[in-house]
Symmetry: D3
Subunit: 223 residues, 6 copies
C-alpha cells in the first residue's frame, strides 16, 4: 500500500458520468477530518454499461489502464458488480483492490444467515452465481432475481419506475428467506435507503460496502 497516499480511487468502468455522479452521492457520507479521500472516476471510452461478456473483457483492460495511470492511490474500488478484471488489477498494484460484489455479499453475510441479490438484468445472473461459487458462499444465497422490466444501469437508482421494480424484487427475495438484500448493480444506490426502510431488512449498496472496508483500512493505517 502507498503509505503516503490517503486516496481511495473508485473506478466506474462504464462511460456513464451519471452513474459516477450517483456513486459520489452515495459515498458523500464518508467525509472525514484529515482522513481518507474518496475520488470517483469514469472510464470515458468504456461501454455505457457493463452488460455483455465482451463489455466485461474490455472493462478489465480499461480498468488496468486506469490503475497504471494512477499508481498514487492507497486503495482501489472496482465499482461494477461484475468486477471486470479484479484478478488483473490485483496483479499490477500492491495497494488493495476491492471488488464490489465480493464486498457487498460478504458484508451481507455479517448481518444475515441468507442473503438475496437484485440484478438489473436476467443475463447477469449466471455470471454472478459463478462468482459466488468462486467465493465458496453460494450455499448462503437465498436467491437472485432480475428487475422485471428494461431499466438501464444509470436509471436503476432513480425514479419511481425503477423503485417499483426494486421493491417487487425485494419482496420476492424476502419470500425466499433473504435476511439481507444486496443491490446487484453499482447504479442502484440512490434507492438503497428508501428500500431498506420499506422492506424491513438491511439493504446493502455494494459500492458503499467496499468503500467502507477501504475507508476502515486507511482510517486505521496512520501512525
Amino acid at each position: 500500500m502507498n503509505a503516503a497516499s490517503r486516496t481511495i480511487l473508485v473506478i466506474n468502468p462504464n462511460s456513464s458520468e451519471s452513474v459516477t455522479q450517483g456513486l459520489r452521492s452515495a459515498l458523500a457520507g464518508f467525509s472525514s477530518i484529515g482522513g481518507p479521500v474518496i475520488e470517483c472516476v469514469t472510464i470515458e471510452h468504456g461501454p455505457p454499461g457493463v452488460a455483455t461478456q465482451r463489455d466485461v473483457a474490455e472493462a478489465a483492460i480499461n480498468t488496468a489502464a486506469v490503475i497504471d495511470a494512477r499508481p498514487d492511490a492507497a486503495a482501489y474500488v472496482l465499482a461494477c458488480y461484475s468486477q471486470p478484471g479484479l484478478d488483473l488489477a490485483r496483479s499490477i498494484t500492491k495497494s488493495p483492490v476491492f471488488g464490489i460484489q465480493d464486498a457487498g455479499v460478504l458484508s451481507a453475510m455479517v448481518l444475515a444467515d441468507l442473503f438475496g441479490v437484485i440484478a438489473v438484468a436476467e443475463a447477469s445472473i449466471p455470471r454472478h452465481l459463478s462468482n459466488l461459487r468462486r467465493l465458496g458462499v453460494d450455499h448462503r444465497l437465498a436467491g437472485e432475481v432480475a428487475l422485471e422490466g428494461d431499466v438501464s444501469v444509470a436509471d436503476s437508482g432513480h425514479g419511481e419506475e425503477s423503485y417499483g421494480l426494486l421493491i417487487r424484487s425485494a419482496a420476492k427475495l424476502r419470500n425466499l428467506g433473504a435476511g439481507a438484500i444486496v443491490l446487484g448493480c453499482a447504479g442502484m444506490s440512490g434507492h438503497r435507503k428508501r428500500l431498506e426502510e420499506e422492506v424491513g431488512c438491511p439493504v446493502i449498496d455494494p459500492t458503499q460496502a467496499a468503500v467502507a472496508m477501504a475507508f476502515g483500512m486507511l482510517a486505521t493505517a496512520s501512525p
Copy 2:
C-alpha cells in the same frame, strides 16, 4: 435502526479498561464531520478476559444488559472475538449488531483466497473453528495458530514480547498459504499496522473491520 441516532456502541465484554482504551486508539481514525460517533464501553463486572466457555456464557448475559440499557445506539459492535451472545443481542434490538469475528473473517475474504487467524490461546481455537463452520467458510481458512506463550488479552497488543509472538504466528500462517491474516482477539489491535508492514499481506483487526461496516451503514443512511 434508530434513525435519529448516529452512535456506534462498541461493547468490550470484559472488565479490562485497558483493552477498551486500546479499542479507542484503534478506532480513532474514524473521526468524521457530523457523521457517526463511536463510543466504546467496558463491562466493569465482566471477566478480565473472555477465555473459558463460562466467560462466554456470562458475557452474553452482560452484553444483553448493556444493549437493554443503551437502546439509543444506531449500531452495536460486539468487540470480543468469541462473539458472546451475538444471537441474543440480535433478538433484543432492531439496530444491527456486528460480531467482530464474522466481520474480520469476511473482510479478509474480500482481500485474499485463504486467510489465517492468530488466537491468544490454544483453547479458543475449537470455538473459533466452530463459528467458521456456522458461517460456512471454514474451507477458506489456511489455518489458525495460537501465540506460543502466555499473554493476557490486555497485553497482546502492546510491547515487544507479544509482538515477537505475533510475528512468529503470522509467519506460520503465511507458510500455510494465508493471503490475509485476522487478529483473533480484540486486544491485539495495537500491533496491526506494524505487523502488516513486516509480514507483507493485509492484517485485519476485527474490531476495525466491524466498525468500518457499521460506519459505512450509518455514513450512508442519512438523507
Copy 3:
C-alpha cells in the same frame, strides 16, 4: 467419564415438570439389568419453555449449575432442541454431553438421505438452521417447518390438536423429500410412535436418540 457411575442425567432446562414427566415416559423403555440408569431432572427456576434467545442464554447458565451440582453422572443429555450451553457443559465435565438436536439429526442421517424437522414455532427455525450449518450437514436437510398453530412445548406431545398439527407438518416434509423426520422439540415425544406409523417413515425423538447413544456408551463401558 466417571467410571463408577452408571447414571445418565437427562436435563430438561425448562421449568415444566410435565415436560420432564413426558421425557420419563419416552425413556421408560431403556430399562436394563444392572445397566445404565436414566434420571430426568427439571430446572425449576428455568423458563417454562426455551423460546427466546434470552431463554437460551439463561438455560445455558442453569444447565451448567446442574452439572456442577451433579458431577456423579456418567453422561449428560441436554434435553432441549436448542442445546443451550452445550459448549459450556462440555468445558466443565469430563463425562460426555449429548445435545439432542445433534443426536437426533445425525441419527436421522443414518436412516435416510434427506431428513426433515418439525419445529414448535417459526422463531426457532433460524436457530436450528444455524446449528445445522455448524454441524456441516445443512445440505442434507429436506426442510424444517413449524406447527401451524400456537402450541406450548408441554402440549406439543399430547392431545389430538397438537397431533393434527404434527401430522400436517410431517406431510409437508415428506413432500419436500424427507426420508426421516426429526421432532424439533423435547416435548413432542408422546406423539412419536403414532406419527411414525401414520407417516410411513422413521420419526426420531431426539431425546430418545441422544439417550440411546449414551446408553450404548455406558452399556459397553463396563469390564
Copy 4:
C-alpha cells in the same frame, strides 16, 4: 418395522465365527428387561474377512439372502465397516437397516468436531472415504490411518500386538486433530474400552453405535 418383533439381527457378513463371538461380547451390555433382543449371525459361506471389492460384492448378495430368510427381525445391523449391500438390504425390507460405518461416524460427530478412523488395512481407506463423501461429512474427518502391520479382522480386537498397533494409530489421529476415534472394523471392539482410557477421547465401536441406535428405536416403539 415388524411391530411384533423385538429382535435386532446383527449380521456379520464374513465367515469368521470368532468375529461374531467378539460382536456378542461387545454387545452383551445391551441386556434388557422385556426389551429388544440382540442376535448375532455369521454368514458361514462368506469370505473370512471382507477385504477386497469382490468380497464386498459377494457379501452384499449373502446379506440379502440372510434378510430374506429372517423377515422376522425388527431391525438389522450390517456389522461390517464396508457396509456391503446396504442399499440392497434397505430395498428388500421395511425394517430399518443400520450400516455400522454410517452409525459409527455420525455418532462420533455428536461428540467431537473432528473424528479419526483406524482401518485394518490401507486398501480399505479409499472405500471408506468414498462413503464419507456419500454421507457428505468428509470435511469433518481429521484423518484415517491403517494399522502398521498385517493383522486379520479376527485378530484386530485381541492381544497385545494388535493393541499396540491400535494405540499407535490412535496417537497419529489425535495429532491430526481428532476429538473422537472410530474403529474402522467390526473386529476391533475388544480393544475399545482400553483404548479409550489410554487415548483420552471417546473411541467408538461402530457396531455398538449401530446397535445403540436400533436398541433405542425398539426400546421406544412399544406402546
Copy 5:
C-alpha cells in the same frame, strides 16, 4: 492399461440385446483409421433392465465376470447409469473403467453451470443422487426428474411415446435452471440428437460421453 490392445469393451449389464444394439448405433460415429475399436457386449443372463437394488448387486458380479473373461480390453465402459460394480471392476483390472453416470455428469459440467438428469423411473433417483453426493457435485444439479409414464429401458430410446415423455421431462429441467441435460439411462441414446435440437441446450448421452473419454485416452496413447 493393456498397451497392445485398442479395444474399448462396452458392457451392457442387462440382457436386452436391443439395448446393446442401440449402444452400437449410438457409438457408430466413433469409427477411426487404425484407432480404437469399440465392442459392445450384452450380459445374456443379466436382468432385462437394471431396476432394483438386487439387479444392481447381481449386475456387479456379472460385470466382473465379463472383465475376468476379457482381460484383453484396453478400457472398459460400464454402460448402465447405476454403474453396478464400478469399484469392483476397478479392483480387478489395470485398464481404466468408465462409469457412464460419472462420465455423463462430469461432461455436462464442462458445458453448463447446472445440469439436469432424466431418469427412466422414480425409483432410480435416490440411487443416482447418492452417487452425485459421492462424486461431491450434487450442488451443481438443477434437478432430476423421472419419465411420467411406464417405459422400459429398451423402449426409452425409440418411438414417439417415449420421445414425448423425454421432451416433457427436459422442459421441466430447463425450468429448474439446467443448462445441460444428462440422459439417465443407457437406453435413451436414440433420442439424444432430436431432443438436443428441440430443447436448445446440450443433451448428453452418458455412454457416448464415457466412450469419448476412453476413445481420447486410446487415441493419444499410441507412440
Copy 6:
C-alpha cells in the same frame, strides 16, 4: 451448433507456433473416417505464453476475435489451461466451447477420487485454484505443484530436463494421494504417455480431454 460443420477449432491463445505444433501431434490420434476434423490455430499476435493476468485478459479478447472470424466451427477448444475468456467465448457463439482446465479436471474425476495438477509456474496456481472453487470441485484436489525450475510453456513438453521436472512433480502429487494427474499446461502433452507409464496412474493431457469430449459430441451428432 453449426450442423453442417464437422470442424473442431483448437485455439492456442499464445503466439508460439511450436506449442500449436505440439497440439497437432498430441491430437493426431483423433483421425476418423468422414468424422470430425481437428484444426489447430495459433494467435500470432498473442503473447509467447499466457503467464500474467494481463496475458489472460488480452488472450480473452484475441480468442473472441478468432471465434468471430471463424463462425464455421462446430466446436471450439480453448487450449490454454487458464481458459482466457471462456465466458466471453460462450457468449458469442452457439457452438459449444470447451475450456481445457475444466475438461481435464473433470475427466480426471471420472478415473480417480483425488487428482493432482502440475503447473508450469508457481504464479499460475492461485488462478487455477480459483477456477476449481468456481467449478465446486476443489475438495477433490489432492494438490497442485509447480515445476521446480524455469521452463517455458513451449519447452515443457520436450526434452529430458522438463521431463525430469515433471516426474518429480508427479511423485509429489502421488504422495499427496493423487489417483490421477492433470497436466496444467497445454504445452506439456509431449510427455504425457511416458509420464503415465512411469508414474503408474492416469495422466491427463487437458487438450486431449477437451478434444475427446468435442469429438464425441460431433461423432454422435450426425444423423
